[in-house]
Symmetry: D2
Subunit: 300 residues, 4 copies
Amino acid sequence: MTSPFHTIGILGRLNHAETNQTLISLINYLKEWQVAILVDPDTAAALHDKSVQSVPRTELGKRADLLIVIGGDGSLLHAVHTIIHDAVPVLGVNRGKLGFLTDILPTELAKIKAILDGKYRLEKRFLLSATVEHNGKILGQGDALNEVALIPDSVPHMNEFEIYINDQFVCSQDSDGVIIATPTGSTAYALSGGGPILHPGLDAIVMVPMFPHTLTLRPIVIEGNSEIRIVITPNNTATPRLTCDSQTFINAPPGSRITIQKKSQHLHLIHPLDYDYYASLRSKLHWGRKLHYADSDTHS
Amino acid sequence: MTSPFHTIGILGRLNHAETNQTLISLINYLKEWQVAILVDPDTAAALHDKSVQSVPRTELGKRADLLIVIGGDGSLLHAVHTIIHDAVPVLGVNRGKLGFLTDILPTELAKIKAILDGKYRLEKRFLLSATVEHNGKILGQGDALNEVALIPDSVPHMNEFEIYINDQFVCSQDSDGVIIATPTGSTAYALSGGGPILHPGLDAIVMVPMFPHTLTLRPIVIEGNSEIRIVITPNNTATPRLTCDSQTFINAPPGSRITIQKKSQHLHLIHPLDYDYYASLRSKLHWGRKLHYADSDTHS
Amino acid sequence: MTSPFHTIGILGRLNHAETNQTLISLINYLKEWQVAILVDPDTAAALHDKSVQSVPRTELGKRADLLIVIGGDGSLLHAVHTIIHDAVPVLGVNRGKLGFLTDILPTELAKIKAILDGKYRLEKRFLLSATVEHNGKILGQGDALNEVALIPDSVPHMNEFEIYINDQFVCSQDSDGVIIATPTGSTAYALSGGGPILHPGLDAIVMVPMFPHTLTLRPIVIEGNSEIRIVITPNNTATPRLTCDSQTFINAPPGSRITIQKKSQHLHLIHPLDYDYYASLRSKLHWGRKLHYADSDTHS
Amino acid sequence: MTSPFHTIGILGRLNHAETNQTLISLINYLKEWQVAILVDPDTAAALHDKSVQSVPRTELGKRADLLIVIGGDGSLLHAVHTIIHDAVPVLGVNRGKLGFLTDILPTELAKIKAILDGKYRLEKRFLLSATVEHNGKILGQGDALNEVALIPDSVPHMNEFEIYINDQFVCSQDSDGVIIATPTGSTAYALSGGGPILHPGLDAIVMVPMFPHTLTLRPIVIEGNSEIRIVITPNNTATPRLTCDSQTFINAPPGSRITIQKKSQHLHLIHPLDYDYYASLRSKLHWGRKLHYADSDTHS
């Protein structure tokens, strides 16, 4: 079988002992399969391994045909922002426990061979784009895999804003802010704020109010193609900020308008064939296991 | 303009003074427009109005080309179960406050003329079908517009069951039960149980655990085409019940299997052209109004 | 040192293998310390051990000066209802994991010696008393360690009632019911319904609405000495029930009045000296452990 | 009857039209009753009323024997921080709707006469004191009527800290922060964060986690006399801040320790004799009214 992947980029946080160990194991493992290996200059300098090629971080997504990220969901999120405009598919190797985005344990590197052999599942996760505009001027733009969030500047509980969906007025809020999450992000910050879990196959966005003054403001799930607009009231006494995946921050002064919608690009996640979304939920959220009495034919 | 509606069925709870008054106003109003008016025999007997035709309740959905329900969301839900196998579109006239399903106020009967003239929006709301099976025998079947719920028999907090989605194991629960709601039902029982609001345009189902023993069980939103299976553990000490919109009840004894999925039929809701879903949310949930400072061109 | 305990009653669910094993180990352990051992007739019959005395279950609390319950929190709750009018202190031996009420693991029976030697902590947990009255007639009375709950009869979400505290009107509800919990019960059913945790040292009661129609009804914590009255509206369409710890059930028909207040008696719980309430919270709720970097003198 | 109040201080936000109007009405009303009236210099300058005496804002609490605050709960909170070390009792006159702390409507100024005549209820609300310490150095101290909150600096969801109560380890958290609220504050920020309502008569404190990573972290209510200690982990990557009623802010760098406990002073709130705490809950939270069918003798 011909492998679809010939050039593998690798990203991971260097100064973390376990990550480093997994990185070296992974490189040694990959060498067996005649693929080119690219790493960023810092990693290259630390490795002292001539068979590994150093390319600028921003080039990784353009030159690799598979990006492997070592670390937890946070590291993968960070890496995604490096390659967000590239189409390179991403595979996550976790450091020791199952993540929502990182399926492969350090002890399961052998699973990577099957992926190199083309035996994998490709899953498209949609991204959000957010723009802040004030008096006709663009103040900033950002992309998000997990969530776009309007968060306070300094004093909590002081922001007044209106929300519109597809130009329809939805509600005004007096709250700390609001989280606009994708299905991917629904198990991250939005969940800790009381939002529901959205299955990643769902074409939907969830809005979760943060510390709303009005107790009846509840998380609301809308279609993925919706255009969301947030208008900061002109007499708001503070300047809240918009954050994309907690990676970028844009000030949203009183009177500014924030527009959020789905990007045309997606993140392409690579999963091993035995990937099971609900297993990652059970693992991360300590959900109940299959009950012991349940024999296999009860429910098949 | 030719009206698409020539035969109007009317349903409403008789022994309610305001409903009766609205019923008579509505009939008088409709008489102006040369349409046939059908009511159920009880209503006919109470009306003493020869121009109104009496047909059995179960025939209303088959013989009318428009069904008008007078009452709150509960009355409409009740009426829907009468005509659930018919394709007749339904219009709700509320008794005094905006409902999620009943858009027209008694003071706005004039809006009905536009609808008779073909100026309306038709919205399809999907329905759920639920079947309880035990040892290969069907114990019961029901349909729901709002939700299918597994609820306790007598002692709360005593049911153990497993949930599968599209034959994938999701979780086991030790809880009072679970609510499986459509977007239409997301603002009803599921909402009071902590579930999110699902926009009615969304092709999605939400599962809301009821008093779960495991605190990390959270509402989860899945695709509308999912097949949900609930397996009551064989050694469960009670017999929970399955309810469809609190209209039908089916026992689900230990070892039984419940299958829930979308029906091919939909409910066809008629809205006036100025229908605004978010306005009904604001009205019912006491959400914030547009902020006074917001001039109209800020967000248009 | 003279032991304060000379006659030890033991309660536990017989037909559970692990419980039986712990029971036999416990009896053998206690025999070393010259105490009289009492069990209920069923247990006696199963044991075939002449040195163990059989007394009626209802006599256990009167004749023993220490009651040891083997099992989980549920078993202890069940046992408490047997001895609720007696002053006998209770010690819980858990079957394998820490409980909120059962502190001693089967592997830690040696801890019992210290308790027999008088080295223990005695903690008083208050109880609630509930009375249902209709037209001047008492329909039933019950006691609770965890909670008194008004729960639905058959159809969920159908009960209308008013709540008064110390004769002051608090609110009316349209809901499934309400949970009135002690601090002891705050980590049981009330918690799964969204209630807060109340430290057991607190003289307070928490009321948690069940599936309230009004989304702004929130759990409310009131003083332990409060008298709570619930009035079922005379035109309520169903007959909800009052349950005490899910052990007793009393119908509360339309028009009935429920009065709930603290009892003068308490449950006397015995803890080993190293008992740590927060450790049981961390264990049961999977809370975070002390962070690894924290050296011992940082916070002592 | 001799009035207990001879010197009345008045505080309110000047540049608010309704407040100003109420201020003038109040002063005119008070002039009838031979009391001295003190206002701060800004208010005095705006009033042009020679019979009103100007004293520095910080002196108001020392020289007045009753302080009347005009405005909403926020204004009263702000005023309380001016007089927090003084024993002067405080009366709130609201601008138009019932507040939790401001009982008198502008249309009910006549109620003040009864208060001047000694017909009132005095309620003591306890205060919290918070100290941030790092390497043995005090970084700051603050007092709070509503809540002490640990809040993020810039990036949300990035703080790791441990919580101790009375030197017992409770839990570690990875969260945005935590709200430590009094009963008075339980209906403010803590409530919008999902905390329970605490009756003001309760001697208790509630801790509400903010966006906790661990979903089983729930609000916990502890005794009012508890000493709470928060230890920011030394390798926390950000510097969260401590805020007291959103009036004061203190940085809490990695490694710092925060100590929170009840102050010995209280706020003395003056209520008219017909004050009803539950009425303010119903009014502010849109709770259900007494059901119409309920005749007065049903529940008295």
